[in-house]
Amino acid sequence: MAVFQLLLKNSISLLTVFLFGSTGEIVTEKSGHLNMGIPGIIALGGLGGVIGECLYINNIPNPAAPNVFLCIFIPIIFTILFGAIAGLLFSFFTVSLRCNQNVVGLCLTTFGVAITTFFFTSSKFLNFDYLFYAGNYFKSMIFPGKVTSELNFFVEVLFSHGFLTYFAILIAILVGFTLKKTNLGLAIRSVGENPSSADSTGINVTKYRYLTTMVGAMIASLGGLYLIMDHGGGVDPASMDMESYGWLAVALVIFSMWKPSLAILGSFVFSILATLPNVMSFSGANRHLMEMLPYVMTIIVLIVTSVFKFKSNKAPESLGLSYFREDR
């Protein structure tokens, strides 16, 4: 029972990373942009958060007792800023320079992951010593105090997480609502389905694509912040495998059929698979076999969704294509 509880608890904790990543990617893909740079953006978001936190916590007299508000909002602002810059870079290359989206995405991933690894592995630039103090605040913002086994099973599984987990779910629902029910969502979807007819109705395709890519990148970058500050507790940021989580988040978009509400379920399934090897305390070869699970699952999902084609699980019509007015 204890193992089962731990599994569920850790899965819900890890779910946040996938959910932020895939919600961000859904926003982007709905406007017709296939952003393969999500792993890089998640990594850059994590880097931004850590830089912000280091700037704050290393410069106050008593790192053990930071101002709760500043200690949480400075990194969030930095993360969103880094995410926005990464999104801007991606959309500048794909919208304005009309480069191939796959290539720019891969390049952004290489860049983001490399620069993040660089800063996390060299002790010359940043001092991570006090980061875990802030990590505690991330973990216990909403429900302060110790959440122990005195509480019952469901309360611990569902309500022992940091505020970002609930924020991710909130954002996913909000994004789903916006895309489906509002005029803004309609405009975004029309840009993704058929940009030239959207253009002819007076929708500014360039503006919408910039907007969605940047907003998507901002949302995704929060996943990196969460992974390092909350899931990892601010201890040893270099050990986080942000790249593979990022790719799984991209794959989740297909699993969730471009619906953020389904992405919540999908993230949960994927995070169960990803936490299994840790919780079950496998070691050696068996552990690596277990680590394959999320990837195998992704492949199965890809195949199943392509074999059974429903009307609702189609990708946006012009996904991955750059729009150039003169091409018509």
Partner: protein, 400 residues
């Protein structure tokens, strides 16, 4: 009123597709982009606490200069060449798939599987054969290479099968196959050596023989031969032609009677097989001990090179050389393992951006008009030339 205002508003810049660009101008843009990429890299290394000139001298020294004598170093140059050719080979292996518009991001995984198969052969087949005799040793290598190619081909075939049958998204599929391949290698390593977790070495004789004191020479020769074969395959065979047609338009291909599904699967088998072969070269010729990080992202670098080079063989060669140069050089600039990747991705960004200037042109009517008004002399010659060009055509039309 508002509509009138909007109609009057002209954007300052607009983007025009270039009709055609001369080969010379294209190369000027590309070389300029490479120069800009190097400059940006130098600035980044200055930010990390180096000097501007130091960056270039360090890279140059790391790639060409023997640190003890100060002269040219044969080992370093050979190493650079070998790295170049491996990158070139990876990119070339991807070209058939990319020509077909099949996004094979899985070169990494296909190479890893090739490495794994090569290791299996070295561990089990090597000791079973009498490798002391030259003939048997040759046979061993033939079998090993063949098996690695089969493994790579299988890894490429699986996503291609589903792509051909059900149009499964191949980008993510091949990407996931990468991770599975790497984890599979880890599983094998852990089963063979549960304590240390890495295989130090196999039998000496199962490695590629040394020519002139270095295994890299043979590696280089094989790689060059394979590269030539791929080039011929794409350019001068029926298969190569079919790949081109399928890449151009699947409908056209169907109409001409090409079996599109078969072409997709066959091409990916070829692509994967070459990747498997590269894996074999990497293990038996370059690294000589099995780890899960032998490829270390070179599969992705190959993807970038192939695309940025526009699938052209000469560009692929040039960019491979530059990438090998930067990777090897930047290791000596900063010892952090992630540093070469930062440099590489910065270069790629610049090179991707340069594609825009090859294909498009930024024009600004306002600035052009202003220039015309201010410096009419500058445009006189051009206008005259254009006028001369136009007249014969007009005359022809009128004659008709």
């Amino acid at each position: 009123m508002e509509q009138v205002k909007k109609a009057k508003h002209n954007p300052l810049f607009h983007i025009v597709k270039k009709q055609d660009i001369s080969l010379r101008n294209k190369w000027i843009i590309k070389v300029a982009a490479i120069g800009v990429a190097f400059l940006i890299c130098a600035f980044i290394s200055m930010g990390m606490g180096g000097t501007f000139g130091g960056f270039f001298s360090k890279i140059f020294n790391a790639c060409f200069v023997n640190s003890r004598t100060g002269g040219a170093s044969a080992t370093k140059i050979l190493d650079l060449l070998e790295n170049t050719v491996i990158l070139l080979l990876i990119a070339l292996a991807l070209v058939p798939a990319f020509k077909m518009k099949f996004w094979n991001i899985g070169a990494e995984g296909q190479i890893v599987v090739g490495i794994l198969m090569c290791a299996v052969m070295q561990k089990y087949l090597g000791p079973a054969m009498n490798l002391q005799s030259a003939g048997m040793r040759f046979l061993f290598f033939v079998v090993t290479f063949a098996m690695s190619m089969i493994a790579g081909a299988l890894w490429g075939f699986i996503p291609a099968f589903f792509k051909a049958k059900f149009k499964t998204n191949e980008t993510l599929f091949t990407l996931m196959m990468n991770y599975i391949a790497i984890l599979l290698t880890k599983v094998v390593i852990m089963t063979w050596d549960p304590v240390k977790g890495d295989i130090q070495a196999f039998d000496e004789l199962t490695y590629l023989p040394k020519i002139g004191g270095s295994q890299l020479v043979l590696n280089l020769i094989i790689a060059v031969v394979v590269a030539a074969i791929i080039f011929v395959y794409l350019r001068y065979t029926k298969h190569g032609y079919e790949i081109n047609v399928v890449g151009g338009s699947q409908r056209t291909a169907k109409y001409v009677g090409i079996n599109v599904k078969k072409v997709i699967m066959r091409t990916m088998i070829v692509s994967g097989a070459v990747c498997g072969l590269i894996g074999c070269l990497l293990l038996a010729g370059e690294h000589n001990n099995l780890t899960s990080t032998i490829v270390s992202g070179r599969g992705f670098t190959g993807v970038m090179i192939a695309w940025i080079a526009g699938l052209g063989p000469i560009e692929i060669g040039l960019y491979s050389l530059i990438c090998a140069f930067i990777t090897k050089g930047s290791r000596s600039v900063n010892y952090n393992t992630a540093f070469p990747n930062i440099m590489l991705s910065v270069c790629f960004f610049v090179l991707i951006a340069c594609e825009f200037f090859v294909n498009y042109q930024i024009r600004s009517e306002k600035i052009e008009n202003w220039m015309h008004a201010k410096f009419p002399k500058l445009f006189k010659k051009k206008e005259e030339a254009e006028a001369n060009q136009v007249t014969p055509q007009v005359a022809k039309k009128e004659g008709k």
